[in-house]
């Protein structure tokens, strides 16, 4: 498939047009969306206007951005002005935001063409898209299997070649896990590198927007476009976007890589074999490999499933039938709030709101929420110690390749365990990328995860690129 970089170059030179690229994208969507349920909303009219504007600039000899004419899909928890935004929840069905997320403004300013909004687990709570109120997305590589989640629609859009790139959000693995399951590159950037303005909040101290792409260079380019300080997000890092694309071929010679025992143990044998093979590739490319243990990461899952629901229970209090979306009428305002929330939220969202409310309630706050905040501190220190010894870390992204529908959806703990290797990075606020490396016995892709300290995205992309090159891509 043509890369975003090639499309943007050819659109800028006039060798192709944004409109032609868009029509190709819409044709692929028309052919497969019914089967795969990737897009909740297609903004054909808006996208055609964006494409025509890019082509007009080219014809007028005006400069176009680095994503000129590149079709992009947007996770439906990103607000886009005038375009329905649902978080895959009935509680927001029909709502059209009065403003756009900063990341959407930035990709449009860079010339990208926003084709539509993609399916997710309801309010990004899930690892398979099975909790979406609008039905699950199917994995384009094997439609009997999940695409991963919560950004499963954004991953499937790129895997099915419906769009060249897409945006997702990652609170506990929601970009990296679906990237692994769909054979894509997906990055969870350093907390604060990308503005969260216009991202409907799930867990504000953990959420981060990031890129999906079919190759490392496209992911680096997309992240470069969306990163950088934004005064509209008070947690935004103060500096401008780092240079990423220019460094993807920097290699790993002289880098020290730590193989983390806890980020491999418990994974299927074929996943462990892929990580080991990736380690060999990095060593052959000049990296120095050491094995290490970060026992604190074992506590990540528990800490996450207290902290994220606690924050969610507070964030989702705003869905009360007053300002947006669904209202179920009732006698008085409290009954209306309750009837609206009961009707509007699905089971997983209710479960997490309940868990979070409980973890924050009097008598349990210290034992659960308070302890989890302290575990978070320990996690940060443990990673910091590891990065005294090595430049970056390697582990599995997920314990297995894409699983079947229904395999984990009746058992919340089994589903939560699919994020066991990705959660520690969110708790530490650091960066990690999943890159496809090898395949399982069923032919499905395996994702290898590279983890680094805050602001290490350029180094992680360079490491991922070494693995990509080794596979002949």
């Amino acid at each position: 498939m043509t890369s975003a970089i090639d499309i943007a170059r050819d659109v800028a030179s006039g060798a192709t047009s944004a409109e032609a690229q868009l029509e190709k994208s819409l044709e692929t969507i028309a052919a497969r969306n019914e089967e795969l349920n990737v897009f909740l909303y297609l903004d054909q009219e808006g996208a055609r206007a964006q494409a025509r504007a890019v082509d007009a600039k080219v014809r007028a000899g005006e400069p176009v951005g680095p994503l000129a004419g590149v079709p992009i899909a947007l996770k439906d928890n990103l607000c886009q002005r005038g375009v329905p935004t649902t978080c895959s929840s009935k509680i927001l069905e029909g709502w059209r935001p009065p403003y756009s997320a900063t990341v959407i403004e930035r990709v449009l300013a860079a010339g990208a063409v926003a084709v539509g909004k993609t399916n997710l687990d309801e309010f990004a709570m899930g690892s398979s898209t099975e909790t979406s109120a609008f039905g699950p997305t199917r994995n384009p590589l094997d439609p009997s299997r999940v695409p991963g989640g919560s950004s499963g629609g954004s991953a499937a859009a790129v895997a099915a070649k419906m769009t060249t790139i897409s945006l997702g959000s990652d609170t506990g693995g929601s970009i990296r896990q679906p990237a692994a399951l769909c054979g894509l590159v997906g990055m969870k950037p350093t907390y604060g590198l990308v503005s969260r303005y216009g991202l409907i909040a799930f867990s504000s101290s953990l959420d981060q927007i990031g890129p999906f792409a079919a190759n490392v260079a496209d992911a680096a380019l997309l992240l470069e476009v969306i990163a950088g300080h934004d005064p509209m997000d008070s947690t935004s890092l103060p500096e401008p976007a780092p240079s990423l694309l220019a460094h993807v071929n920097d290699g790993v010679a002289g880098k020290r890589v730590g193989v983390v025992r806890e980020l491999i143990e418990g994974a299927d044998d074929e996943v462990v074999a892929a990580v080991n093979a990736a380690v060999d590739v990095l060593r052959d490319a000049g990296a120095e490999v050491v094995e290490l243990s970060i026992p604190e990461t074992r506590l990540g899952l528990s800490a996450y499933y207290l902290l994220a629901p606690a924050e969610a229970s507070s964030n989702l209090a705003r869905f009360d039938g007053v300002r947006y979306g669904l209202r179920v009428d009732a006698e008085d305002v409290t009954a209306m709030n309750e009837a609206t929330r009961t009707m509007g939220f699905g089971a997983e969202v209710k479960r997490r709101i309940m868990l979070g409310t409980y973890a924050l309630s009097a008598g349990y706050y210290d034992a659960y929420y308070g302890q989890a905040l302290k575990v978070r501190t320990q996690m940060i220190h443990a990673f910091r110690d590891a990065y005294q010894k090595v430049d970056f870390l390697i582990g599995a992204t997920t314990p297995s390749v894409a699983f079947k529908f229904g395999e984990k959806s009746d058992n919340p703990m089994a589903m939560y365990l699919s994020d066991v290797f990705t959660i520690p990075t969110n708790l530490a606020g650091e960066a990690a990328v999943s890159v496809p490396f090898g395949h399982g016995a069923t032919g499905l892709p395996i994702g290898v995860q590279l983890l680094g300290p805050g602001r290490s995205e350029a180094m992680l992309f360079a490491g991922a690129r070494v693995l990509e090159v080794a596979e002949g891509r």
């Binding site: 059209r96 947690t235 039938g321 008085d332 309750e338 209710k350």
Partner: protein, 100 residues
């Protein structure tokens, strides 16, 4: 500790969270939340005395913008997205009952 989580606790939390649960949902959530809290016992049982809590990974402090008038969202546009709006305000069912 989570073995203590009762059906009544779950019902109380549901009321706090403004959710109505059916009897079947109460049973299911009690069982599922117990399972999740059992898993969380590994951290509830840790001795973390002296460890500070982290709410933000890089300890950024609060940011306040300059106190300058600037454009904000259009009131009409925001209200147009609400389930009910009257006279430039969000409208809700009555909050106060009749005087006793």
């Amino acid at each position: 500790m989570s073995a203590e989580l009762t059906r009544d606790d779950v019902a109380k939390v549901a009321r706090l969270a403004r959710l109505t649960l059916s009897d079947a949902e109460l049973d299911l959530f009690t069982e599922q939340l117990r399972g999740i809290l059992d898993h969380a016992e590994d951290i509830a049982a840790l001795n973390l005395e002296g460890v500070t809590a982290t709410a933000h990974p890089f300890g950024l402090t609060n940011v306040v913008r300059a106190d300058e008038v600037r454009e904000s969202l259009s009131r009409d546009e925001v209200l147009a997205a609400a389930p009910d709006a009257r006279e430039g305000r969000f409208a809700v069912p009555r909050i106060l009952g009749e005087a006793p």
